[in-house]
Every structure is written in C-alpha cells, then in structure tokens.
C-alpha cells in the first residue's frame, strides 16, 4: 500500500485544531485547507496566517468544497459538531466511494423532531444521537471512515511539543493511511479498531473536563482532581458502553490519556468553562466571550438524557448539568458529590 500520489490532503475547518493538523500534514504532502468564507480564505492565503498560527508553505486555502472533493482522496473534516451534518450534506455531492474521511470532532450530532429541544424530549436514545462517523456514513457514500482522538491540545501541538494521537477505524487501510500522513519524530500514532468507542471516549471526557475546571476554579488541589479523574473515567466507561463502545477504548490514549491531559489544561476550552463558572461568571457570558466551541456544554445535555434512557448512573454528568443549567453553585455541587453514598471502586473489569 505505498502511497505514491502527490494528490493534496484535504482539511475542512480552519479552527485551531484544523490548522494544526493541516500544518502537520503539510510536512509530508500538499494540503488543501477549507474555510467557508471566501474573503477570509483570500486573506489567509495572502497573510499565511490562520488564528495567529503561521501556515506551512505547502498549504493552500480554499473556500470551495468541490475543489476539496475533486482534488483530494483523503479528507480530514474538523468542524464543530453543531455544523457537521450540514457540512457533510454540502460536501456529499463531491464525495465518491474511493474517499477516505478521518474526522477530528469530539462532539455529538442530535436529530430531533421539529420544534423539540433536548429539554422537551421525553427521552433520548441512539436513534437520535449520532457520532460524527455515523453522520458521515448517513450523509455520504463514504464507507472508509475514521477519527482522530487522544490528547491533542492545539497549542502544544503547534509549538511542536511531543504528543500522540489515536486513529480509530474498522478499516486498517484508514488507520495506516492516517498514520503515514501524520506520524513524525515528535508525533506518535496509535491505532484502535473500535471507532465508536474511541469517539465516545473523546466526547464524554469533555464533561469531566468541565468538572475539573470547576474544581480548579475553587482552588482545590490534586487529591480532588485525582478523585474526579478516576471516578470520571468509570462513568465514561459505563456510559460509553451503553452507547455502543467497548471498555478497551476508554482505557487507552483516547480515553484516560485524553482525560488526564484535558483535566490538567487551562488551555482546554471545556476546562475553561468550568474554571470560570467556579469563579462566579455565568454560562452565557463565558460562552459568548469564547472564540471556539466548548463541545462539552452541549454534550452534557445529551449525555444526561441518554444516561437516563439507558439506566446508567452518571453522577458527575448529572451534577455538571445542574451547575450549567439549573443554577446549582459549584460549591454546592462538590458537597453534594462528597456526601453521595458510594463505596465500590471499580467493577467493570470483571465482565
């Protein structure tokens, strides 16, 4: 499976993570980076700068999805989950069964009957909640799909610090292609064939990250964080399994690895949300002042409803929800969690 073609690799979405990935890909291949707005595209193309990150010489900016579909065999869609399905609908006419798609979006897609919101739904199940790979499969003819997951904090990657990612896909071909395109001396690529599990690991950890930010904001130290991370991991495993992942996916780089990184990182958006909440700001203020989406906020709503439907006890998710949307103070939330009668440490490894 040697790759001799000099076709460019496509990246859709010029946010922080999209730009960083484009830069990494450009070390080995020409890259076509898509951004929606033609004016911005022209500006980025001439200034060679995107979100203050300098662009690699081999990156060309485009605002045409057609160009991306026609010129690239391998495409990395990295846009927020709320716009992902629409993007796929626009891209779909230019996609063929030979395309490989590896997405980097750690959020959920939600399809509800018109006029309904998460709050007004009686229940949520997996027929309404989809991961991004499922959206790709539903909206296009592309079958060979994968995802990027793991601790990939954009800032560190753009500073060329050492890091690693997981590429998950049921297709070895997708994993190997992604690995060949991304691997470098400072960037390790792990593989996993449980695509859905790895996607959920990346998605659900954002909820725990909000909680970690909140603890940090209250000035708590490492004991509290250790407790949160380990209990959070257990909660992720249970919820993730109910939603279709395997335990294994949550214990690797994409699960624990990403969780630990995000829960210790003031540069993480989800962590920031929790941190500022604890310091007394309200959610609206925080979200409107951020330039990128904190996926965790939306995920909390969906995860809580799903936990209810699949009868999984998700204490942290439930409490984060109350803090975000029901005016529970972070202080009260912590004392509520500490009083909750729990004793068994871990029981999911037995079966």
């Amino acid at each position: 499976m040697s790759d001799t073609s000099d076709k460019p690799v496509g990246v859709i979405g010029a946010g922080n993570f999209g730009t960083v990935i484009a830069n990494m890909l450009a070390e080995g291949k020409p890259v076509l980076l898509y951004t929606r707005d033609p004016e911005k595209a022209a500006q980025m193309q001439s200034e060679r700068l995107c979100r203050n990150i300098p662009l690699h010489d081999r990156i060309k900016i485009t605002s045409s999805l057609q160009e991306v579909g026609e010129k690239c065999d391998v495409i990395f869609p990295i846009v927020p989950s709320s716009g992902f399905r629409n993007l796929m609908r626009e891209l779909s006419p230019f996609l063929k069964p030979y395309h490989l798609l590896i997405h980097g979006t750690k959020g959920l897609d939600l399809q509800l009957p018109t006029g309904k919101s998460v709050e007004s739904m009686r229940y949520l199940d997996r027929t309404m909640v989809k991961t991004m790979s499922e959206v790709i499969r539903e909206e296009s003819v592309v079958v060979r799909v994968g995802c990027l997951a793991g601790p990939n904090l954009s800032r560190e990657l753009s500073e060329k610090q050492p890091g690693a990612t997981v590429i998950a896909s049921p297709f070895q071909e997708v994993i190997q292609t992604g690995r060949r395109l991304l691997k470098s001396d400072r960037f390790q690529v792990y593989e996993n064939n449980d695509l859905i599990g790895v996607e959920f690991a990346g998605i659900l950890k954002n909820v725990i990250a909000i909680a970690a930010g909140a603890l940090h904001g209250l000035g708590y130290g490492e004991n509290a964080k250790g407790l949160l991370i380990s209990r959070g991991a257990v909660e992720m495993v249970y919820l993730g399994r109910a939603l279709g992942g395997s335990t294994k996916a949550f214990l690797g780089v994409a699960g624990i690895g990403d969780l630990v990184a995000t829960c210790n990182s003031p540069s993480s958006r989800n962590f920031t949300v929790g941190n500022r909440l604890a310091k007394g700001e309200n959610l609206q203020e925080i979200l409107s002042s951020m330039d990128e989406v904190a996926e965790g906020v939306n995920t909390v709503k969906i995860a809580r409803k799903c936990a209810e439907f699949y009868k999984v006890r998700a204490l942290i998710t439930e409490t984060v929800y109350k803090v975000l949307f029901e005016q529970l103070t972070v202080q009260d939330a912590v004392s509520y969690l500490m009083r909750y009668p729990l004793s068994l440490d871990i029981d999911f490894l037995d079966h």
Partner: protein, 562 residues
C-alpha cells in the same frame, strides 16, 4: 378446519430468460468440472501458502488437519463419507511426519502434499449438474406436487390425474420478481434466503425454476446427502456440498475458493447466510461471513481483472414465510438447550425419506400456504441497485461500486477491507429480511399470545416460564382480540414506514383473522401451540412451540403495544 386463502394469486408462469440449458452458467461449470476443480485446488494452495509460508508452516497445518480428520472419522462418520478416508488420512499423516524429519527446507513436497488434500476436498465439494437429471428431477417434482394438490383438494378420485391446481396456487411469490429476472441476465445473482426448514432448499429451487431463471449453484449441508431422495435432487439441481464437521483451514479455504471462482465465472448462487436453520424461529440476526465474503472478494477480482463492462454481482435477500415448520419442536429444543452456552450441537436427522414424503403430502393436501418474498437487489456493499444494475446512494444517485475497492486511484487487494465490507453487507441483509418479512396471521397470534402469557408472570425469566405447566395459561378471548387489533394496527404503521410487510389475509375482519391464525399456527404438530378452549379462551398445548412461532416477530419492538 378452515383453510386460509390468500387474495387471488397473481402468480404466473414466467418464460425462461435463457432458452437452452447449454447456455446456463451452471452447466458450463459442470462441463468443465475437471479443469475447474484443478483451478480451485491450485488457487487455494496458493492462498494458504501465502498466509503460511515455509515448509514447517505447511506441515504444521497438514498435521493438524490430519488429526482433526482422524478424530472426525472416529467420532462422527456418515453414510456419504467415502470408504477410503481412513487410509487417505493415515497416509497424509505418515508423509507429513516423513517430510518433517528429512532435513531439507525445500517446501515443494509439502506443497504437493497440501495440494492432494485440497484437491480431494475440491472434488468432494464440487457439484455435478447434469441436464438430464435436472429435467427429470424437475418434472418429478412438478408432477407429484400437482397430482397431490389436485387429489386432495378436489375430493374425487379422478381429479388426481387432472392439473387444475398447481404449485403456484400454494406458493406465493411476491416482491421484486421483475427486477430479479432482469438482473439475472445482466450480472451474477446471489440469492440469500432466511433458513427455517430443510424444505427451504427445495422450495427455493422450485421458485428459481418457476421464475424462469437458470439453475443456481448452492452449498447444501453434506448431511442432507445422507438422505437418498435429497441427494438425488440436490445433485441434479446444481448443489455443491458443504460439510460442517470439517473446520480445518484447508477445507474452509477450498470451500470459499470454490464459491468465489464459481461466482467469478458467472454462476448464479444461493447461500443460506445464517449458516444453519434458525433454531429459535427468529429471523437471522447474525450471518456467517465466510461464504458471503466470497461474493465481495469475487466482485473485487472482477473489477480488477475486467476493465471493460465488469460483470456485476447482485445480492438478493429473500424471506420464506411458513405457518408451519416441520422441525420446529426439535429446533426449539436445541435452541433452549444451547442458549447461554454457545456450544456446537450436532445435527440430528430424524427425518428420513418417508417422513419427508409424508410432510409433503400433508403440506400439499391442506391449505397451509407458503409465501416467498423477493427483496430488492443490493450490490456487494449493500447499496440498492436499480433495474439496470446501477448502484444507488441514499439519494438515489448512481454511484460506481468499483470505487469502493480503489485506493490511490487503483484497485487494491485488502482482505481486511473485504471482511469489513462483508460485515456491512450482512448488516444490510438482516435489515432487508426484517423489511420484506411477510407477517402471517398465525405469526401474529402466536406472538401476542406468548407475550401475554409472559406478562402474567412478570417475575419469571424465559426458562422459568417455560417450566410452568401449560394448564396455567389462559387468556380471555375479548382481551386477546383487543390486543390483537392494537398490534395489527401497529403493523400497518410499520408497513407505512416500509419496515415490515404483511400477507393480504392479515387485513379483514378481526375475529376471522384470529380464528384462521389460530387454526394455522403450527398446523400439523401433535401438540398445538394455540387453541381455544370450551369457554372460547386462548390456551396452549405446547409452550415451547408457541415460543418458537412467537419468535418470528421478535425485533420489531411490538411488545410495547401489548
């Protein structure tokens, strides 16, 4: 006993799409039987040697194969097994031992030994289609079915020799018949039916013939060849033999290669992708990927070798719907015994030629009709195709199926990808089964009654429930009728959403549909799964059987309406 009639049957006779037997792919295949077997053997050996290179690896494989085969001979011999088997395998073992101690590394002799083993397998598997047998078998089937039907239905002795009723009145073929006929002349068809009963293969054979299609090749369990009357029909209808006792790698590779190459040569094929009859009576949820995978692989080969007009492979799901499954009592017993323990159970063949004839007589002399639903054709990725054979995406746009096998602009071989595609295809087939499944009144009464019984004992698990004496179960008729109406309505809804299908007799006056349903469910069993007692209430004589017939409608979430 009231007979359940379908709406006026639209079935008609179809003209054959290929006029003469010598044009049939299956005939061409059997004419070149010798060279075909040789090709199968050679390519199988190539494949095994690629995955297990080197003399030692080949010898290890041979040694373990010989051991397994000797073990099988010791424990589980059948009438069809050739007499020289013990000698053959002890020879293989002796030669393997000699080769592994001769101190040279040249794999050539080991390879040659492997070839003799594989060749023997290929020869055993290969079918032997003979036009004269085929015609005779077909005529016998038609003649006797027709006689029996007439003799029984028109209660006069002389009617026996008339042909007023034919098999077509009894077996209802619905669905995408025209599409199937059209595609059969454009590409290679693979029919994948659900599997509930041993008569499925005969039934499908008849359907294929009556639709004017040339004979299909299909893998029939070698155990069926123990029954002489079956052996005769199968041999004449293009069957190749599948021996489920043999689990060794060389055998399985030979079998897959046989199917793969036959498909590549354009032989229309038939697999029962469930692998074996559904023990539980449920529609198959998990398919065996081995033979199905040969379709994907064959298609990839065709694409990479024929650049002009590559011959396309079409997968056609089919469901067979019965009021009555002869083997139901044994099947469900097997299922209950093995549930949770996931171990292999040997096939017990209780039905010799006589029992089968009796059944055929019973079947044809009473009104138990059968329906066969032909689903829409799929490509090997599970996409729907149109009548011209073009693959369609979910928006009905034409797509090139070839592109699924392309990476970096050319077709590549990637067995892992093929396996994954096979898995996708199997999921799609299972979905299609549920969609084209045709609900009979008898299925519905069984389903509702069993769930209502279950609700009476909410604390018991399945096995606890089945242990209770049958006398403990009784449903007041009025209550049953109301529930029936509710669930039937939901089936109409599901049909609107294209998630299920039902037989025309399901519509109609509710009392009548229930009465006929109860009369027909498991109609010939000694103990009836459903009856009405003197008070008119619903009772059962055999809860296991009721569970079996109930299972047919599991998976639609209909329990919610009961």
């Amino acid at each position: 006993m009231e007979i359940l009639e379908e709406k006026k049957n639209k079935n008609r006779r179809y003209e054959p799409i290929l006029e003469k037997i010598p044009d049939w792919p299956v005939y061409l295949l059997s004419k070149q039987r010798k060279s075909f077997i040789e090709e199968v053997a050679e390519k199988t050996v190539d494949r095994i040697v690629t995955t297990k290179p080197g003399k030692k690896a080949i010898l290890d494989e041979l040694e373990s194969t010989a051991l397994k085969e000797q073990n099988r001979l010791k424990r589980n011999r059948w009438r069809v097994d050739p007499k020289d088997e013990p000698k053959f395998w002890s020879d293989v073992k002796a030669k393997t031992t000699a080769l592994s101690t001769d101190g040279n590394d040249d794999p050539e002799q080991a390879r040659a030994l492997l070839k003799t083993v594989v060749h023997r397998y290929a020869n055993e598997i290969a079918g032997d289609f003979r036009p004269s047998y085929y015609r005779l078998a077909r005529e016998i089937t038609e003649f006797w079915f027709a006689r029996l039907l007439n003799g029984a239905r028109i209660k006069k002795f002389g009617a026996f020799f008339r042909s007023q009723y034919t098999l077509r009145d009894k077996i209802h073929v619905v669905g995408k018949v025209r599409m199937l006929r059209k595609l059969a002349s454009k590409g290679t068809i693979i029919i994948v039916p659900t599997h509930f009963s041993n008569i499925d293969s005969m039934l499908i054979g008849w359907v294929i013939h009556s639709l004017g299609l040339p004979a299909f090749i299909y893998g029939a369990g070698l155990n069926l060849f123990n029954i002489k009357i079956f052996a005769y029909f199968m041999n004449s209808l293009g069957a190749y033999k599948v021996d489920r006792r043999k689990k060794n790698a060389p055998y399985l590779e030979t079998l897959k290669m046989y199917s793969n190459l036959a498909i590549q040569k354009g032989a229309h094929s038939l697999f029962f992708p469930g692998g074996t009859r559904s023990r539980s009576g449920m529609i198959e949820k998990q398919l065996k990927l081995g033979l199905l995978g040969t379709a994907v692989e064959a298609q990839r080969h065709i694409y990479s070798e024929q650049s002009e007009n590559p011959r396309k492979i079409f997968i056609v799901p089919v469901t067979l719907n019965y009021h009555f499954v002869l083997e139901a009592p044994d099947l469900i017993e097997d299922y209950l015994q093995s549930k949770g323990q996931d171990r292999y159970f040997p096939e017990k063949e209780k039905y010799g030629s006589l029992e089968l004839l009796k059944f055929i007589y019973k079947f044809s002399t009473t009104g138990s009709s059968i329906s066969v639903s032909i689903g829409r054709a799929l490509d090997v990725l599970g996409n729907y195709v149109d009548e011209e054979g073009n693959s369609l995406d979910s928006k009905k746009q034409i797509i090139q199926a070839r592109d699924y096998f392309v990476s970096n602009g050319k077709i590549t071989e990637d067995p892992q990808r093929d396996n994954e595609y096979t898995r996708l295809l199997s999921t799609k087939i299972v979905g299609e089964y549920h969609r084209i499944n045709r609900v009979f009144g008898s299925h519905l009464v069984a389903f509702i009654a069993f769930v209502m019984f279950q609700r009476m004992h909410p604390k018991l698990d399945l096995f606890g429930l089945l242990r209770l004496p049958e006398e403990d179960f009784e449903i007041p008729y009025d209550q049953f009728r109301e529930t029936f109406k509710k669930v039937r309505k939901e089936i109409y809804n599901l049909k609107e959403k294209n998630k299920i299908n039902y037989a025309s007799h399901l519509k109609g006056e509710v009392e009548e549909v229930i009465r006929r349903g109860i009369d027909n469910v498991g109609i010939f069993h000694l103990k009836r799964p459903l009856l009405r007692n003197k008070a008119g209430n619903i009772v059962t004589q055999d809860l296991n059987l009721l569970y079996y017939y109930h299972n047919r409608l599991v998976g639609y979430d209909l329990e919610r309406y009961i």
